[in-house]
């Protein structure tokens, strides 16, 4: 019996399948007559395709070959800006751009065939850096290489700078990061003009793929079906990219008349798919004599790679988070997403905020020092509070208590005692210890009117056996979607957790609940689960089959009886925006997010001056999240996000040569092992959010924002070195020492 499920660490819905090897991921599927598919990609970063050369030595008549000419509908990946082709037809705009697709039943022969196709390109001058792109010596995208710009303007920044007591400047850069889900991208497709297209695969957003395939094949939506298989990690890397792979597998299946499975190997997945946008942020900060923020002037630029993909939205989130959890009367943020001839960058947990928060929190420590204040005293004088207004003009109506989070984080990390001890002990010996922190918030859900445009739907139905099934497009990718939804429904209905199941996300069977991104799944979609479940409860109570104060057995009986009598029992809930939320897309101001989670993270580092290695020795993460639906799952999200961000800060470096990632294997792209990570200590504070299920806010991306700046601030504390480029590798440190 698991009544009153919300707030309890109930075991994962699909846990048993996962620990026994019975969970089915796309590569575990086979279909009769199935072919394997592969992609032939450009080696050149930019140019005009002159020829596709199919070399002898391969039985070409056995292979299915697809090029841009074979595309039935539009050779455009439906996303924000219709600029990216599924297959390059005339021009190449980045290394690894897909040009030809091949299919064959024998995987080995297929790979041999792939190596016998040469894409001949007449080269054009490529652009590889933000500065080159801004300089526009080559225009590689539309008129000006700019995917998107934003201007946020509050107060009068220039006047404020003119009269400021002190001005501090800083420039901060972050590198690309590979999502590195342990399960590579994969799709299995069945497609023909009569029955349409069906794909099974590893994905976060079934309906994104659905829309993309409908456009690619010019098919009505009823003839496209997308089914999510168990997915081995996403982190944003399977948000928009899978539409391309699904399209490729389906194109081959369409032409071959047989099912086609395409699974990327690790090298292809790393070098050809999306990564976190590299960034550069310039801060100019003005403070008064008391160390209070008077003005912030921020320039935030991200490198979007060769096509637009989601760069405008990444830029948006980075922009809105750029001024952080502080109150400042004059703020100007000028942000830009530019094009380069690298494979397009895309969604990755945090989605622009890790980049801008990194810059901000390093800058805040720097400003504190210039003001003659400790980093924490500076924060205390400037934290935003309930009732105050953010940089984009949102009045914070929810409770905000950053000082409390700071106090608690310091207590758990023993911040003051350690700061003093390290200062005393650091002179002796090659190990320099330091402690640093970061303060931040992360908005949950789509920005502004985004959720309204999504108009997400969730259905909850009773089965003939009296159980309850949740029908939603939200995907389980490890974060606990299935479990959280089942807990919310069982709590709302007053039934056993075990009596609730979550349907496999299949676009033929579930409504469009929107994408599994933006920390929206528990908070926004979970709320719809609650609403629909409550409607089912209401229906049963009004039907007379169920009486108030019922138990789980009574519910089961009543639900079964209702279904038997009426054929079905199903309620559908649609997103309604909370009262009073206002956002102006033109002026880019207003209520950017329905709710923010707030946090203070503290990192303790040990820098070894013999080897210049930095190790995180201890980590504390304190966050206010509304309501914790499942403590083990929630802590797991924070721990995993912190680990991923530690990787980004210290270990993960994409090595670029001519726009191509050259360290595309796990042996040379370094993510932390169990030996590299400290104990990560997590604590939650709860100020219930009225519009979240049980009061919950979204937390999936929050933990990505804090660790990197906390670590860099700790390294500065340990060594006195101001490092402003991420990752902070030993090779960087040796140059600075």
């Amino acid at each position: 019996m698991a009544i009153g499920a919300v707030g309890r660490s109930l075991p994962r819905q699909e846990g048993r399948r996962k620990v026994t090897g019975q969970a089915r991921y796309v590569d575990d599927l086979t279909l009769p007559g199935m072919l394997h598919g592969t992609t032939v990609r450009s080696a050149s970063p930019r140019g005009i395709i002159r020829d596709i050369d199919f070399k002898p030595g391969v039985p070409w008549d056995e292979l299915t070959v697809v090029t841009a000419a074979d595309i039935p509908g539009n050779n455009v990946v439906a996303l924000i800006t219709d600029d990216q082709p599924y297959l390059a037809g005339e021009r190449i705009n980045h290394p690894e751009e897909p040009v030809v697709l091949l299919a064959h039943p024998d995987r080995h022969l297929l790979e041999e065939a792939r190596r016998h196709v040469q894409i001949v390109v007449d080269p054009l001058p490529p652009v590889f850096t933000i500065d080159e792109s801004l300089a526009r010596t080559e225009t590689i995208w539309r008129q000006d290489n700019i995917f998107k710009s934003y201007l946020v303007s509050r107060g009068d920044v220039d006047a404020a700078f003119a009269g400021a007591a002190r001005i501090v400047e800083g420039t901060y850069e972050t590198g690309a990061q590979e999502q590195l889900y342990i399960e590579p991208n994969g799709m299995l497709a069945v497609a023909d003009p009569e029955s349409g297209v069906t794909v099974w695969g590893s994905m976060q957003c079934p309906f994104y793929i659905h829309r993309a395939l409908a456009g690619l094949f010019n098919l009505p939506s009823e003839r496209v079906r997308v089914v999510q298989m168990e997915t081995g990690g996403g982190f944003g890397g399977k948000e928009e990219y899978p539409s391309i792979l699904a399209g490729h597998a389906a194109l081959l299946a369409w032409k071959a008349g047989r099912p086609v499975k395409m699974i990327y190997d690790r090298l292809e997945d790393m070098v050809a798919t999306t990564k976190r946008h590299p960034s550069r942020t310039r801060h100019r900060t003005a403070i008064d004599r008391d160390g209070r923020l008077v003005a912030m002037d921020i320039e935030f630029v991200i490198d979007g790679g060769a096509y637009c993909t989601l760069s405008p939205v990444v830029l948006s989130r980075g922009t809105i988070h750029a001024a952080g959890p502080y109150s400042c009367p004059n703020v100007r943020i000028r942000s830009t997403a530019v094009a380069t001839n690298a494979p397009p960058h895309g969604a990755f947990r945090g989605f622009g905020a890790p980049q801008s928060v990194f810059a901000l929190e390093l800058q805040m420590d720097k400003v504190a020092a210039a003001a003659g204040l400790t980093p924490h005293e500076f924060r205390r004088r400037n934290f935003i509070a309930t009732g105050q207004t953010t940089a984009v003009g949102q009045v914070l109506r929810e409770p905000v208590d950053m000082p409390r989070l700071l106090d608690r984080a310091f207590e758990l990390s023993d911040y003051h005692a350690k700061t003093a001890r390290f200062a005393r002990e650091n002179a002796a010996g090659p190990i320099r210890r330091g402690i640093g922190f970061a303060c931040f918030m992360h908005g949950a859900g789509f920005t502004g009117s985004g959720e309204q445009h999504l108009a997400s739907l969730v259905s909850v139905e009773a089965t003939a056996g009296g159980h309850v099934r949740i029908l939603a497009a939200s995907t389980e990718i490890g974060q606990g979607t299935n479990t959280v939804f089942a807990q919310i429904a069982s709590e709302a209905l007053g039934i056993d957790y075990e009596d609730v199941e979550v349907a496999q996300p299949d676009t033929a069977a579930v409504p469009d609940s929107g994408p599994t991104v933006a920390s929206r799944t528990s908070m926004v979609v979970g709320k719809l689960v609650e609403t629909a479940a409550l409607a089912v409860r209401s229906t049963l109570l009004s039907s007379g089959l169920l009486e108030d104060g019922y138990d789980a057995a009574a519910f089961r009986q009543a639900a079964a009886a209702y279904v038997a009598a009426n054929g079905s029992l199903k309620s559908t809930a649609q997103y309604q925006p909370p009262e009073g939320l206002r956002w102006d897309d033109e002026k880019y101001e207003g209520d950017a997010y329905g709710a923010y989670a707030w946090a203070v993270y503290v990192a303790e580092v040990a820098v070894d001056l013999t080897t210049f290695e930095t190790r995180v020795a201890d980590f504390v993460a304190v966050q206010e999240v509304g309501r914790v639906i499942n403590p083990v799952l929630a802590a797991g999200q924070i721990e995993g996000g912190v680990a991923q961000a530690i990787g980004w800060a210290l270990y993960e470096q994409v090595v670029w040569r001519e726009g191509r990632m050259v360290n595309g294997q796990m042996t040379n792209y370094i993510m932390p092992t169990s030996m590299d990570l400290p104990n990560i200590r997590v604590e939650f504070v709860e100020f219930p959010y009225p519009h979240g299920p049980g009061g919950a806010k979204g937390i999936g991306e929050l933990p990505m924002d804090g660790p990197a700046p906390a670590i860099f601030n700790a390294v500065r504390n340990a060594t006195g070195l101001e490092i402003t480029k991420l990752p902070l590798t030993p090779e960087e440190l040796v140059v600075r020492s």
Partner: protein, 153 residues
């Protein structure tokens, strides 16, 4: 060029016909239809493909099937016995050791191997024992918790 290779897998005797350099991972997944063992990197770095060969943890993506002749192989499907979950599996469920689940089969084999070789494994032993299995979701905390709790059970 195919060879005939005989071994036991999860207690059952099998004979396969395969290229001698075919990866044990592929033979297990494609010929024996045991898809619980996963491919994460194909280069012996992530441990998702880990199995036990004669009781020792091995990355099956780096093992040519010829060299398994006469050996005893255990995959994730062979960890539970008679429908009864292994203590490590129970602990993973109870303590949140699996998130997306793709690293889980290899991680469980590594934990089983650790318990077999180091029955009283402490925290340091656990970190070392699992160092060859990468997890991108958990930050390892709940995995350690699960293995710690399963020690002695």
């Amino acid at each position: 060029m195919e060879a005939s290779i005989s071994f036991t897998i999860n207690g059952a005797a099998v004979t396969v016909s395969a290229h001698p350099m075919a990866r044990l991972l592929d033979v297990v997944r494609q010929q024996l239809h045991l898809t619980g063992t996963k491919e994460g990197c194909g280069e012996g770095e992530c441990g998702a493909c880990a199995v036990l060969i004669d009781g020792e943890l091995v990355n099956s993506c780096l093992t040519p099937v010829l060299q398994v002749n006469g050996a005893s192989v255990t995959t994730i499907e062979g960890v539970a016995t008679n429908g009864q979950l292994h203590a490590v599996q129970e602990a993973f469920i109870a303590h949140g050791g699996a998130q997306c689940g793709i690293c889980t089969p290899g991680m469980i084999l590594a934990a089983v191997s650790l318990r077999n070789h180091v029955p009283q494994a402490g925290d340091d032993d656990i970190r070392v024992g699992l160092a060859g299995n990468l997890c991108r979701c958990t930050g390892y905390m709940k995995i350690f918790e699960a293995v710690r709790k399963s020690v002695g059970r």
